[in-house]
Structures are given as structure tokens and as C-alpha cells.
Subunit: 350 residues, 2 copies
């Protein structure tokens, strides 16, 4: 299948899973219709990166065309929806994928209905519950994907590990953010668990395990997936500061406003003069950071050489992934697809 | 097995599941030790009601002694831990099971460490992530319980339904709380999904499905479980207003401070004079409600006859459950155990 065909199939699998759930929810109460609408809106967007890596991990390990792998791969998009919804609560993000975040959406519903209770708490509570529902449904979609018990048992070990790793990575990310003082080394550890394994390495491993691939294939996929995953997250960090809102779906400089302690920030602080470091630390995480404030911090990140250092790390990790891919014992078709995914995951625009 | 022996086995299964996870987390980072400690503290307490109903549903449907059912039943306690941790964030509860709630625990850690970031946001973020981890682990523990694929497939359908129902029920509960004006009827619908199905009916069905029980057993267990589940929640509502903190693990009158729109409150408002209704509505949900305020609201709930009406509903539902249990086509041993659980679930003290 071509990458665009994989994407269409994943979209179709997600739509039909959600369509199977909808009547049950509405039978409980019509009041659940806005919850389903919020999920529809979120799932309508997204690059389906994790399902794509899962599918090509399967093909790389010799899996053939099977509806079951599409369902299993698509279940990762529900896991990702859960992570995004909860992340946005934790980061107080206003937007996601170019739309209001789920908690803001329900805060707005509360205000529009003029209900007497606390609109913010209602928005956050709904987002916590919808994120929980997506997490439960991702497991349900995986287990009911249609692949046989033996394949699922092998895949489940990866699936379980991946969920634990990403949740731990998110905790460490938040911890580094709140206690400050992240070094390049500690920021990279967060990147490894929160992004590189979760977004690329484990989806590849999941697909390969479902296909019955052995440790050799898994190791080859790690050789490609881990460095690519790091490059992917570093690219995301750069886009979070310098990206075009029309492409990122987030306001310009949103990562600066959220105070994320990224590798990019750590690289900048390593290179900053005391005055630059003080200025960066003072404004980083300021929720009221305006356009001139964003411009000021962008200038520091460029002038210190932090941006150039980050771009050079991205290039190195992407190159390492390329080399590993070239040597991997997989089919031409899988190699070509994974090479194309590597370009998409690290491109300067999304 | 005697009820206390079931409890010991469930405790043991939980301890060993968490013990298997611990090294993996600490290998990611020592910084995860406080997260594991918070989980240990929460799992150290609790009545294990849902595992008990699951186990006796299994026995009622003819299941025999098997380590697998203990693991499957114990996995419900991780699901419940997830629900409690997230509930406490949504309700801004300070305590749970006689200890600080998870979000307060990490807020306190943040302050004790004098970290520069926002302590409240750190506490809530950690609680969201630990709740997610417990939800993921409950699925993992269920799938790796040791029962064979066919049994798990039958049980999984119930497990999936139960998770969806409880999350929807929690949303409806929050919705009724925030928009006010809950009637006895709407409050009872919330009780059905949030409590009666989740705490009693579905755990019984899960056990029965795992044992291979047919629709006859499931219907008999519903006849007992649904009314008992309603009685259980109504008892919980009464304890939330009138209960002894030493027994409930929550401060006196905590449900009043959180503004819960319970059946007890709806019954009171149905019977209140305009002055009583105004006074109750005015103070319900006041986070600063002090001891005299709690006493004032308790007096209204008693004087209107709301409390007596609620106690009479509890007695009726409990009686309905008793009758259904007497007629259920199950073994004497299961019937005796379920009768004892019914008494424990609706007792005036915990």
C-alpha cells in the first residue's frame, strides 16, 4: 500500500470504531453528544504518524495485507488522542490541531449555556474523562483488531511497555519543566521516552511483533527509529518556537509561553551570555508573552547559536537513522516507505 | 474461599503486579520513585469491593479455584485507583482513603522541594498521569491474568463496556453538578451508570463471563447487582454528608463542600420549603463550608425528611437485591458470600 492509502485505511478504521461506539453512548444519554463531537473534531485532524510507523513495522517484518493490522495501527491514534487531550489540560493549552483544545471547548460550552457551576473546572474535568475514554478505547480497539490471539499476545507486550514509557516520559518532562535547570542530557532523556520510543520506535516494534518478527528485525528498527524519533522531537521543538501557526495548529511561540524545557532551550542556555540567559529564563513560561516577547526570545535562541546547534543535531540524528535504514534487513518497499516517513517526520514545515 | 481469603489473594495479586512494574520504572529514572510511592499508598487501602464482586460472579457461574480469576478481579482495583485519582482532581478533593489525595501529595512535594514552577499544576498533572498509568495497567493486568484466550475474550466485552459506562456516568455526574437542577430521576440515572453498574453489576458480569456463564446467570446477577448498586451509592451519599471521617477517610460533610448533586440532595430539595431550598442551594458547593455550615445543611436534610426518604430507598433497593439473590440459580456458597457483600456495601458505617 502507498503511504496515502495506509492513511486512508487508518482513517476509515478509526471512523468505523467510533461509529460502533456512538449508539451505545447516546443510548446512555443525549447529553453525551457534545463529548462525541469533540472526539470527532480531534480525530478529524492529525498526521497518523504512529499508525504509519506501526504499519510499516509490520510490513518490514514480513506481514502482508490484512485488515487486522490497520485496526491495530489505528488504535495508536486513540492512544495519541488521549495523550494530547490530557497534555493540553496539563499545559493549559488553548489550541490543538488548529482548533480549541478539548478543555477549552467544554469551558466555552459551559459559558454559552450559562450554567451556574465553574466553567474552567467543567472543561478540565470533561477533558480528563474524554482522555480516559480514548485511552480505554485504544486498548479495546487493539484487542478487537481481528489479528489472532498469538499475534496480539506478542504485540501486547510492546503495547503495554509503550504506554508505561510514554506516561513516565511525560512525568519526567513535567518535572524538568517545573524544577527548571534541565541540561541537554536530561532533556534528551525525556525526549527518548516521551517521543522517540513512543512516536517511532515502539510503533515500529509493535507492527513487527504482530507480524511475528524476531529480535533481529526489532534491533534494526530501533537503529532507525530511535535516532529518527529524537530528530522528530527536536524538529517539533524548533517548530514550537519558530513554526508557522497555520502549519503547527498552535499559536506562534506557544512552547515559549508554556515554558517547555526542551533540548533547544538547553542548547541555548549552554551558549548564552549571563544577560541572555537571564532574559530567557525570565520570560520563558510567561503565559502573557506577546508577539514582541516571542521575537525577543527567538532572537536569543538564534544569536546564541542554540538554533544552529539544534538543527545540526537534527541533521546528525536523521543521518544516523538513514544509515541504519540502508543496512536494515527489510524489503525494498518497507525501506522506501520508512525513508519517506523519515523525511516527513523531520521536515522544516509540517 | 472465604471473603477475607479472597481479599488477601487480591491484595497479593496487586502487590506482585506492581512489584513486577517497579524495576522498569526505576530503570527509566529514580525520579519516578515518588510516583510509585503514591500508588503504593493508595493501593494499601480500599475495600476491594469490585474484585470481590468479580470473584463471586465467577463462582456463581460455576468457576472454580484459579489464580487467573484473582488476577482478573484484582485488575479492577487498578481501574478504581485510576478513577479515584482523576475524580479527586476533578473535585479538588484534599483527601482519599484517609491520606492526602495524589494531586495534593505532589503539590506538597513541589512546595517541600521549593521548585520554581507552579505547585498546583504539578500536583494535578502528576495525578492525571498516574491515573492514566493505573488505567493502562488495569488493562494490562486483565490481559495477562493467566486465564485462557476464550475466557478473556468473553470477559473483555464486559470489561470494555464497564469502562465506557463509568466514564460516561462520571461525565453526567459532573454535568448535573455544574448545571444544577438535578431531579431524583436524573440523579438516579447517574447512579446507575457511575456506581451501580460499575461497582457491582459489571464486576459480577465480568466474573460470570470469564467463567463461561450464560445469559441466565447474567440476568440473575443483574437482578441482585443493580438494585444493590443503587443502594450502595445512596448509602455512600448519606455517609458523604453524615459519615464519621475516621471511617470514610474524608472530612465531615465533604460531599456538601464539593456540591455533589446526589439523590439525597434531590430528595431534600423535593421536600424543602422555599427558605430551606434557598439555604441549601446557597451553601452547597461552598469550598469554605465550616463545621457550623455543615451542621446547618445536615439539619435541613434531616428536617425536610430527605434523609428518611433516602434511608427508605436504600432499604427498598437492598430488599429487592435480597429477593433476587434468594431466587438466583447459583450455588449456596456464592449466595452466602453475595448476601454478606450486600450487607457490607449498604451498612451504616463502613
Amino acid at each position: 500500500m502507498s503511504p496515502s492509502r495506509v492513511r486512508k485505511q487508518v482513517d476509515g478504521a478509526l471512523l468505523s470504531f467510533v461509529a460502533r461506539q456512538r449508539p451505545g453512548l447516546l443510548a446512555i444519554s443525549d447529553d453525551l453528544a457534545p463529548v462525541m463531537a469533540a472526539l470527532d473534531a480531534l480525530l478529524g485532524e492529525g498526521k497518523r504518524l504512529r499508525p504509519a510507523f506501526c504499519y510499516w513495522g509490520w510490513r518490514a517484518a514480513g506481514g502482508d495485507l490484512d485488515e487486522g493490522i490497520v485496526n491495530a495501527a489505528a488504535s495508536l491514534e486513540l492512544l495519541q488522542a488521549s495523550a494530547l487531550i490530557h497534555d493540553d489540560v496539563m499545559d493549559s493549552s488553548d489550541t490543538r490541531r488548529g482548533q480549541p483544545s478539548v478543555h477549552r471547548r467544554f469551558e466555552a460550552l459551559h459559558r454559552a449555556q450559562d450554567w451556574p457551576g465553574d466553567a474552567t473546572a467543567f472543561g478540565e474535568g470533561t477533558a480528563i474523562l474524554l482522555g480516559d475514554l480514548c485511552l480505554a478505547w485504544s486498548g479495546e480497539m487493539f484487542e478487537t483488531c481481528g489479528l489472532d490471539d498469538d499475534r496480539r499476545r506478542r504485540g501486547r507486550a510492546v503495547y503495554d511497555l509503550m504506554r508505561t514509557e510514554v506516561m513516565c516520559g511525560q512525568y519526567l518532562d513535567m518535572l524538568e519543566g517545573t524544577r527548571g535547570g534541565a541540561t541537554v542530557e536530561t532533556a534528551l532523556r525525556v525526549v527518548e521516552y516521551k517521543s522517540a520510543k513512543y512516536t517511532i520506535e515502539r510503533p515500529l516494534h509493535l507492527g513487527a511483533a504482530l507480524a511475528g518478527g524476531g529480535p533481529g528485525v526489532a534491533a534494526a528498527l530501533s537503529g532507525y527509529g530511535l535516532p529518527l524519533g529524537i530528530a522528530f522531537q527536536l524538529r517539533d521543538d524548533v517548530l514550537g518556537v519558530f513554526g508557522d501557526p497555520a502549519e503547527t495548529g498552535k499559536p506562534a511561540g506557544d512552547d515559549l509561553r508554556e515554558g517547555k524545557r526542551t533540548v533547544l532551550v538547553a542548547l541555548t542556555l549552554e551558549r548564552a551570555t549571563p544577560a541572555q540567559a537571564t532574559a530567557l529564563r525570565r520570560r520563558l513560561g510567561d503565559p502573557d508573552l506577546d508577539r514582541p516577547g516571542v521575537a525577543e526570545l527567538r532572537a536569543i535562541i538564534e544569536e546564541t547559536g542554540g538554533l544552529a546547534a539544534c538543527e545540526s543535531m537534527i541533521a546528525e540524528y536523521a543521518h544516523e537513522a538513514d544509515r541504519a535504514l540502508a543496512a536494515a534487513p527489510i524489503t525494498h518497499e518497507a525501506r522506501d516507505a520508512l525513508a519517506a516517513l523519515a523525511v516527513a517526520a523531520t521536515a522544516r514545515s509540517t
